[in-house]
Amino acid sequence: MNTLVDIRKLKKHFPILGGVFRRSVGAVRAVDGVSLTINRGQWLGLVGESGCGKTTLAKTLIRLWKPTSGHMYFDIPDAVRSEIEMLESQDKNSSKLHSLLKENDLATFSGARVRSFHRHAQLVHQDPFTSLNPRMKIKTIVGEPLRIHKVLPSDAVKTAVEELLSTVGVSSGQLERYPHQFSGGQRQRIAIARALATKPEFIAFDEPTSALDVSVQAQILNLLKDLKKEFGLTYLYITHELLIAESVCDYIAVMYLGKVVEMGRPEEIFHAARHPYSRSLIAATPVPDPKRRVGRIVLPGEVPSPANPPPGCAFHPRCSEASEKCHESGPELKLIGGDHYVACFRPL
């Protein structure tokens, strides 16, 4: 399959400043070595609890933040990526490697390169009540990406905005309104229209429905499905609700404390999870079906702080299966069949 996004050992650490000179005295390891690939046309679901680094991963991938280390490739041919890998294993300092990375590695981009990347990849934020500027009319909000990226001549912007809003189901009579005049679902539609404006290939959604009611959530999810089909989009969908991930995504990655602990197709994750964390996360999800009340695993304790993660496997203090080895070293993601990866020494 055709790879669109390739993330290699991505890290994003936020420094903790302290002392008189505001020196860095530690780091919050929000994303700590994530490797992921997203194929063209895929709907990747990223699930995990708050503080596990889901949002940081998305914001770093869209290059709102510069990663601490690691590589990110967006729409780069396989041949180039394997060449970089080969050069990296041979000689880390070769000038050819540097020029290749500068050319292709999203993590090294800056300024205008990042801006032009934003034409192809967009982010939809979690809370539609804070992601839209309250002082701008919605025609300005949706038209802004078009003006910034100079996609269209200025006289064509208005019709384009109307068209965008009608695709997401906001009637054109509401162009002159301000965000506060819309309901939560409508605002999220406007935010989606803004993300679609530059005709990107890739959109990352950061919990787009967590602030919405169930019936509105269903409308938004159906809209996303239709848009994906219509424009051939690729999605990264962040959510903490596993039922959504299971019902809409093609592929799921489970994160815990800055690392991906398990990846696989929904049926593999939800019916044959191998990592103890994914299994208890699934068991903890309330399902609206009184017959499925049994078999809950209640995890003891809480998610540790990413500023001071436990040594070894980050999950071992809460894990019922933890052994000596888990206290000492962290497991790597390993392929265990099909598309199913798990990072655990003793997969269930």
């Binding site: 609890e49 708050s50 309901s183 939560g184 009611d213 169930v214 019936s215 509105v216 959530q217 269903a218 409308q219 999810l221 159906n222 903490h240 609700e241 596993l242 039922l243 959504i244 299971e246 019902s247 809409v248 929904p266 939800f270 208890s280 996360l281 068991a283 903890a284 999800t285 309330p286 399902v287 609206p288 079906d289 009184p290 017959k291 009340r293 809950r296 209640v298 995890l299 809480e302 998610v303």
Partner: protein, 385 residues
């Protein structure tokens, strides 16, 4: 089953500049003793307002327009019409017989007092006589066990304290301690009450499975995680062993694994303390996990009440059906409800759901459907049945 709270024809209106908002319309609801009743519905359906109306805490410009809320008190073996009680008597019920856990634990706790101080306050307000009794016992213990010159010197003071605490234990609001509490330095003479409350607080925190409760009691809210704060709020609500615990979206701001811990806790509370729980949530999954019966509300009106099994396996009201279909479930196409939520300022006439209802009939536009019991314990307000 015995009824604990009986709500009849409750109407709550908000008088805003834009017009009158009909928050709750003619609500009939029974909460039974020892059950967990869930109220589910979308934003603006009047779930929280129902809870606040029971506690008579409807905020300005809202007003409880009409109706009755009858509370059957076990201790006094009598009926209390909550809407007709004086403010003082209502205050004696809030936090004592009926208590509430709010959605956002961070906002429900006062940031400038320690967790222990805030929970002790409940005991000091509602359990003063009991605290007085315990304090007296402690002073009496000192009187009988103390020996040596130091004890001999303190003895007259202890005797006076014993008499003082005895007065507190015997009458609800005796004169002498009441005068003392109004004089700045003398107020401190009642410190033993605070000490006793502190001990009860630590017991309470242990009850909600907080590790190291004595230390957590001296912490400020910002030092605790969301799950811990919610546990502390639950401890506070349970401290007077209420007969009704109202939980307003207690798990919405928590993570799934912490939510699972919380739901487990609620289930245990119901069994251990025998309290009825009114559980308000918009998450149908959570409702099916903890509730015995579920009520569905739409735009300030009740649509359907039934046991959980009935509600989730055989829903009758079109809105309940649509709501259940819009929950993402694997292997099932996502259904949406056409149209938008009814405007609370200008609600549609007749059945509030008729503009969005697939099986609306002419009569739905004219008259409000009366709640009807279709089978045992299954009440639905719809003309289809």
């Amino acid at each position: 089953m015995e009824v604990l709270v009986k709500i009849r024809d409750l109407t709550v209106k908000f008088y805003t500049y834009e017009g009158v908002v009909h928050a709750i319309n003619d609500l009939d609801l029974d909460i039974r003793r020892g059950e967990t009743l869930g109220i589910v519905g979308e934003t603006g359906s009047g779930k929280t307002m129902t809870a606040l109306a029971i506690l008579r805490l409807v905020p300005y410009p809202g007003r409880i327009e009409s109706g009755s809320i009858v509370f059957f008190d076990r201790d006094r073996a009598g009926e209390l019409e909550l809407l007709k009680l004086s403010n003082d008597r209502m205050r004696a019920i809030r936090g004592n017989k009926i208590s509430m856990v709010f959605q956002e634990p961070g906002a429900a706790l006062n940031p400038v007092y320690t967790i222990g101080d805030q929970i002790s306050e409940v005991f000091l307000l509602h359990r003063r006589q009991e605290l007085g009794r315990q304090a007296k016992q402690r002073v009496d213990g000192l009187l009988s066990n103390g020996s040596g010159p130091a004890a001999a010197m303190k003895r007259p003071f202890w005797r006076w304290q014993s008499r003082l605490y005895n007065k507190i234990a015997e009458a609800p609001d005796p004169l002498e301690p009441r005068i003392l509490t109004h004089i700045p330095l003398f107020r401190r003479l009642l410190w033993r009450l605070r000490d006793e409350a502190r001990l009860l607080t630590v017991d309470m925190l242990k009850d909600v499975e907080i590790p190291d409760p004595a230390r957590v009691a001296s912490r400020y809210p910002h030092e605790l995680s969301g799950g811990m704060k919610q546990r502390a709020v639950i401890a506070m609500a349970l401290s007077c062993s209420p007969e009704l615990l109202i939980a307003d979206e207690p798990t919405t701001s928590l993570d799934v694994t912490i939510q699972a811990q919380m739901l487990e806790l609620f289930r245990r509370i119901k069994v251990d303390k025998g309290a009825s729980v009114l559980f308000i949530t918009h998450n149908l999954g959570v409702a099916s996990e903890v509730c015995d019966r579920v009520a569905v509300m739409y735009a300030g009106r009740l649509c359907e009440i039934a046991s959980v099994e009935e509600m989730f396996l055989h829903p009758l009201h079109p809105y309940t059906k649509a709501l259940l279909d819009s929950v993402p479930m694997p292997g099932k196409p996502l259904q949406t409800i056409p149209g938008v939520l009814a405007d609370a300022l200008n609600p549609p006439p007749g059945c509030r759901f008729h503009p969005r209802c697939p099986s609306a009939m002419p009569i739905c536009q004219q008259e409000r459907p009366k709640p009807k019991e279709t089978s045992r314990d299954h009440i639905v307000a719809c003309y289809l049945y």
